[in-house]
């Protein structure tokens, strides 16, 4: 190594390392909102499936799935405009989405099995909030790690 840093140069380098970042506030907000909206979308899908399956509404179910696909596609398109993701984003997002989808799958199994005697909205709506919760938690975590 030809040039070795002095104490002041080492301090300056450490300060520079703290300050430089490829992550903008805009990207951070975009990823937080994307993760939260994804959780709310899956929760809304669960409620819509319960409503349509419970009422034997095949056309309604088809419309719900098409709308879900369109909104999901738009959300992913919007999220992919982020130029950087904070360290830890993939992990928090993966856990949040994984748990939300697991709760969704359990919920769908439940409303399908009980479709002849549809579950009460007093049970379904709190469960939908539970479905969204992991993604909302992940969004909160992403907001915290990105600061």
């Amino acid at each position: 190594m030809s040039e070795l840093p002095s104490r002041d140069e080492a301090l300056a380098a450490l300060r520079a390392a703290e300050q430089v970042t490829a992550l903008t506030d805009s990207d951070r907000r975009r990823l937080v909102r994307f993760t939260a909206l994804l959780g709310l979308l899956v929760a809304a899908l669960f409620v819509a499936c319960w409503w349509t399956v419970g009422n034997d509404n095949t056309v309604g179910f088809t419309v719900v799935m098409l709308a879900y696909g369109a909104v999901l596609g738009a959300l992913i398109w919007w999220q992919r405009r982020a130029q950087a993701a904070p360290r830890g984003f993939a992990r928090a997002y993966g856990w949040g989405l994984g748990l939300t989808m697991a709760l969704y799958a359990i919920g769908i199994t439940w409303v399908s099995v009980t479709s002849r005697q549809p579950a009460s909205p007093l049970l379904v709506l709190p469960y939908a909030a539970l479905v969204a919760l992991p993604c909302l938690w992940a969004a909160y975590r992403i907001g915290r790690i990105a600061r």
Binding site: M1, L4, P5, S6, R7, A10, L11, A13, L14, A16, A17, V20, T21, A22, L23, T24, D27, W77, R80, R81, Q83, A84, A85, P86, R87, G88, F89, A90
Partner: protein, 100 residues
């Protein structure tokens, strides 16, 4: 302490160069970032960033991924595990030199 044990000998020669140090420092805070975001953060030209990233990639410190967003070609950069370790060791050596 012998000369070889001094903290300055623990500095990573690849990361020590100012532009490469800034690139690695910027990537240390993200899972991955687009080429343009790193260029703006480090405030260098495309050609300078491209050249330095190639050196970091050859050292095994940076992983380059090419793809598309819509029809637009994009390049994403991220630190490899070896890059993360090397950067942490480099920072530790700088802290030792700085007396922190």
């Amino acid at each position: 302490m012998t000369d070889q044990q001094h903290a300055r000998f623990q500095l990573d020669e690849v990361i020590h160069a100012p532009v490469r140090f800034s690139i690695v420092a910027a990537l240390a805070k993200v899972d991955e970032a687009e080429f343009a975001a790193v260029r703006d953060a480090v405030q260098v030209s495309d050609s300078v960033l491209s050249k330095q990233v190639t050196l970091l990639e050859q050292a095994g410190y940076v992983v380059v991924k090419k793809g598309y967003v819509g029809k637009r070609p994009r390049t994403w950069l991220r630190l490899s595990p070896a890059g993360v370790d090397a950067f942490q060791a480099h920072l530790a050596a700088l802290r030792a030199i700085a007396g922190q």
